[in-house]
Symmetry: C2
Subunit: 278 residues, 2 copies
């Protein structure tokens, strides 16, 4: 497995694969890999001839008050995990290699202003900008994103369509701990006490699905029940929203294929989770 | 020569060329081709194995009050001209093929707000967005832009660097009529009377260069002389600016490699021109 640190070398690697007509499966990550990330690498490995994982904690998607410095990092462990999954290359650039007095931003309007975008107004602009850069550098035929970051997936999908990136975007299901907590690098921020409470996100989403299965289609009723369930733990709610999955617009009546997403704050961790109604 | 109207077919054309390791020279235009455009096609033909010209009057770079509908079009003539220059393909998509409820914009901050960006605040955002799309569709190894749109070239160059587009951007010298008027599709808007006056743009720029050659380095003095020269014709001045060519920031003292750009309004035409000081 190659560890590639420069844009020039990453391009050379991908250009060589492309010239042989090979498919390139790409998994962009911020590192500190968990089973969620590895499920993406596994899927890329199963579907593509060449697999590239990028590890880059992207500063432009963090606001000044957010956890850029504290964000967990462990490259040696990440490298071992990628090797175990038979990735062909890790792209591991420095911040200086990726950004040199940048002035250019890629922005998906409207979709980035709701849900997580309300609390993190510049976040998705940072995501779409770095993902555009990574697509141009790694030149994937397939790109794999986890559906835990549901809004991110919807926004990147719209960007791929709007800017005509010639690749297939693959959304992969949320991977959970045994007690239902969605895998996240930020779970590391939870105290022992909070970690015990954190499965409430998934439990509240299950409650929403149960209500819908029993015939409840009023989003306000489901939302209130979810808020009540979350509140039992004392966590602070950022948002609970029911929405249409392409436009991210609120639904008036819940239907199959609509989704519910939520974000809550524990002391040091902001956690998110979501569920598509079945 | 192929005339290609869909994104799917254009990608297939370019992917096939790329798979053979061929260089692709790309000339994005809004059609109504003149000798300026054709100089780009010639240069692409001389330097690349495959030459693609795009003809697309891009609505997102026109403001509502601008000349989108009036913009001159003549596809059959353009096609003949491209054939004569031995282009391999014209990409000629419809507006619907290029845009389907788009929400995504590519924007280069700061550089797009000065010079022409003051009068046309959303113009460069439209340019960088469509150029990003065209790059992703036509997949050039080399892209050719005229230096008459000097600010456009600087902005696209910054975008290419910032977003890591893997291509060489080639800026080509301004092509002029015999009397010095820079070639432009918009010259068509000039009345017979105005057409006689229009070479004043080039004459005023020559005056600026002469002053610099004689040792004048004060931008205010040069600017005033240029304004005086332009004013003799009764045209309305949009701007006359002296600036550093990478940052587009005003210069305090003119040096070799700095530039002067100007934009003036005749009744129906807004014309631009520029000169790099030697």
């Amino acid at each position: 497995m190659d560890v590639i640190k420069t844009v020039r070398e990453m391009r050379a690697f991908s250009n060589a694969a492309r010239l042989k007509g090979k498919t390139i499966g790409f998994v962009p990550t911020m590192g500190f890999l968990h089973k969620g990330h590895l499920s993406l690498v596994k899927k890329a490995r199963a579907e593509c001839e060449v697999v590239v994982v990028s590890i880059f904690v992207n500063p432009t998607q963090f606001a000044p008050n957010e956890d850029l410095k504290a964000y967990p990092r462990d490259f040696e462990r990440d490298k071992e995990l990628c090797e175990k999954e038979n990735a062909d290359a890790i792209f591991f650039p420095s911040t200086g290699e990726m950004y040199s007095k940048p002035l250019t931003f890629v922005e998906v309007e409207e979709l980035g202003k709701v849900l997580c975008g309300k609390t993190r107004p510049s976040h998705f602009r940072g995501v779409t900008t770095v993902v555009s850069k990574l697509f141009n550098i790694a030149k994937p035929t397939h790109a794999y994103f986890g559906l835990k970051d549901f809004q991110q997936f919807v926004i990147v999908k719209k960007m791929v369509d709007d800017l005509n990136f010639d690749l297939e975007l693959v959304g992969c299901p949320i991977v959970r701990e045994e007690d239902g907590l969605a895998m996240s690098s930020r779970n590391k921020y939870l105290s022992k006490e909070e970690r015990k409470k954190a499965p409430v996100l998934n439990k509240a989403l299950s409650l929403a699905q149960e209500m819908f299965s029993r015939g409840e289609t009023n989003p306000a009723n489901v939302r209130q029940a979810v808020i009540d369930r979350l509140s039992e733990t004392g966590c602070k709610i950022d948002y609970v929203k029911l929405f249409e999955t392409e436009s991210l617009k609120p639904v008036e009546k819940i239907g199959s294929g609509n989704a519910i997403a939520l974000a809550v704050f524990f002391e040091k961790a902001r956690l998110i989770d979501n569920r598509v109604f079945e």
